[in-house]
Symmetry: C2
Subunit: 412 residues, 2 copies
Amino acid sequence: MPSPEFFQVLPVADALALFDQHWQPQPPAETIATASALDRILAADVHSPEQVPAFRKSTVDGYAVRGSDTFGASQSLPAFLRLRGELRMGEAPRDDIDAGEALLIHTGGMLPASADAVVMLEHAQTINEGEIEILRAAAPGENVIQAGEDVAAGALVLPRRHRLRPQDIGGLLAVGIHEVEALSRPRVGILSCGDELAPPEASLRPGMVRDINAYTLSALAEKHGAAPLRLGIAADAIEDYRQRAQAGFAACDILLLSAGSSVSARDYTRDVINGLGEPGVLQHGLATKPGKPTIIAVCEKKPVIGLPGNPVSALLVARQLLPHLIGRYLGRRPEPPATKKARLSQRVASVTGREDWLPVKLTRADDGETLAQPVFGKSNLIFTLIDADGLLRVPLNTGGYESGSIVDIERI
Amino acid sequence: MPSPEFFQVLPVADALALFDQHWQPQPPAETIATASALDRILAADVHSPEQVPAFRKSTVDGYAVRGSDTFGASQSLPAFLRLRGELRMGEAPRDDIDAGEALLIHTGGMLPASADAVVMLEHAQTINEGEIEILRAAAPGENVIQAGEDVAAGALVLPRRHRLRPQDIGGLLAVGIHEVEALSRPRVGILSCGDELAPPEASLRPGMVRDINAYTLSALAEKHGAAPLRLGIAADAIEDYRQRAQAGFAACDILLLSAGSSVSARDYTRDVINGLGEPGVLQHGLATKPGKPTIIAVCEKKPVIGLPGNPVSALLVARQLLPHLIGRYLGRRPEPPATKKARLSQRVASVTGREDWLPVKLTRADDGETLAQPVFGKSNLIFTLIDADGLLRVPLNTGGYESGSIVDIERI
């Protein structure tokens, strides 16, 4: 049995910089329906094929007029105009108005060619069927949106690398763009290795456990906008592990290997990664707990991470690395995790030179303050994370926190 | 043409309370695969059908022993044990160990029945093929996780109304639960009304505009965990509007009506809603801008909102109401929107007694500070929201903010 691994650990920020240095992703684009493009990233700048509004329209319910016909009009000295009827919504005016004429129009209605202003309903009154009084002058342009005032034809609507929000989907559809070129979601392949692992639906023989890393890591990838690809379970034998890793690697953009807990599976991972292509393993060991034995690699222009087999370690280290990789693939900085201020319920000790991540449970004290209570557990199994509401990060060069400290808790 | 609407406006918080008072949702549950259940809400408490770990396992690479056989062992006075071989990962020990025996075991490996501790590799050394020296005593239980130590059989794994996170999916699968009862997502029906509206893919006749509210509101519903249901466009005629609203209402859990900009469509909405059932319209008019003419209703135990036709107004008022309704349906408080502190670039005036929502663009000043620049636009069309990075809320009883004020900006 080989001796335990010894390696020089690297801070996580430096590991991310290593990826950046060796990996310049060139994500392909795909055409998707604008209506289904929420949260997708634009592959290219989008320009408007048409102007919005497409026609001059009224911003109020009122009378479309030539402004000059209303000049000087007031309560005491109204202007008299002939009414040309009412314009139905969704229709273009059949006729233009002549001098001294008005057209009843609704909010959003299209102005006749010679009209240049709209008098609000409350500033006019009907005298008889065909005649109205205007009680206040309307300057040309008043209560009118000009054609193209919102967006000119050819104008930049949204820039490349923009993530589509509800209003963006509306804006694209408003200018008639019902398909967009979006960046493909990165395919995140996840391969577990270990003879003790069984798929979750299998019945377990004594000595075996269910492979849950494939599922926690899939969910993490999905949450951050990637397309997970579960690659199954490799046997704890170098050839099977190598073959499955190579087949999966070809089908994905980012590969996560979650090595089983046996010494041999841990040892194989490094060789398997180096076999995937140049430059291979860049770093073995991160200055983070849990997650120390993590492997950072780039092979044939794709990032590869060798994660610990322990489900808590695998998930906690993946959440420090994967959002950065997905963001880099999509050309965007990842959203910083949501945090909450809390008072630490007890002293937390840590070793300097290592970043610690401690699961905590958040509770509300009688005085309304939020308390963070560390969730300890020697088992280091997934249930410490299920009981937790957040994580306390103890930075590299901190010896810990005193009881009662106000700390930032990252929601998990 | 009817006169403009006059109504007593109600603060948004009071409108939400009205919904709560008249609407006690009873969402149905559905069975879904745990692996696909990210962000879904549990319909019922989940208890573990089995214990985890299923067997006593080692937390280290080392030798499974009877602790009593190692008592008093030290570097200078080692304990000698007979080696019973190596246990492969994923297998149960074929034989038990006798007194004075040890079994080589990996991290996660299953202990033989009589072993009660594991000596780490580095605290032992091989003498010859079949014999080892133990250099440090191991207390019973040392480096061992007991069966059921992580979760006992029958224990509560996750409570009802819990939203599933990546680690929760892992925990459920770890105990063999590969299907869960999740609350159905609320179906949010969206019906637009107006003769001027055309579907986005149609070519436009002069005087017509594309119906984008159905799409911005769909995306908003989707973003907050609901299932949107676009119900098309009703003609600006009471019978068509009524029929489409009734058919859509039957198929959804929450109904949004987005009335076109004509006076008649606006007037019809109230009648159409009252025709959907008791108690009908609860409030017409909110103390918010944009969004004042919003209608709040509950009909036959379902909430109904009559939204303004203007796309900016419809989206900005829906984001104040819909997340609350979706959260109430799912039995959860909605997540508060992400905010960012920024310095206001100019004075913003407001009217007291009304909550104002002002789109702002965030920029970074030379000194690194975040500046919020209001996005003005008389057009009130969707592009003011596309240009914006966030919204400034001017509360009910505030007259506005001075230039240079530090304000909270909600990300949109």
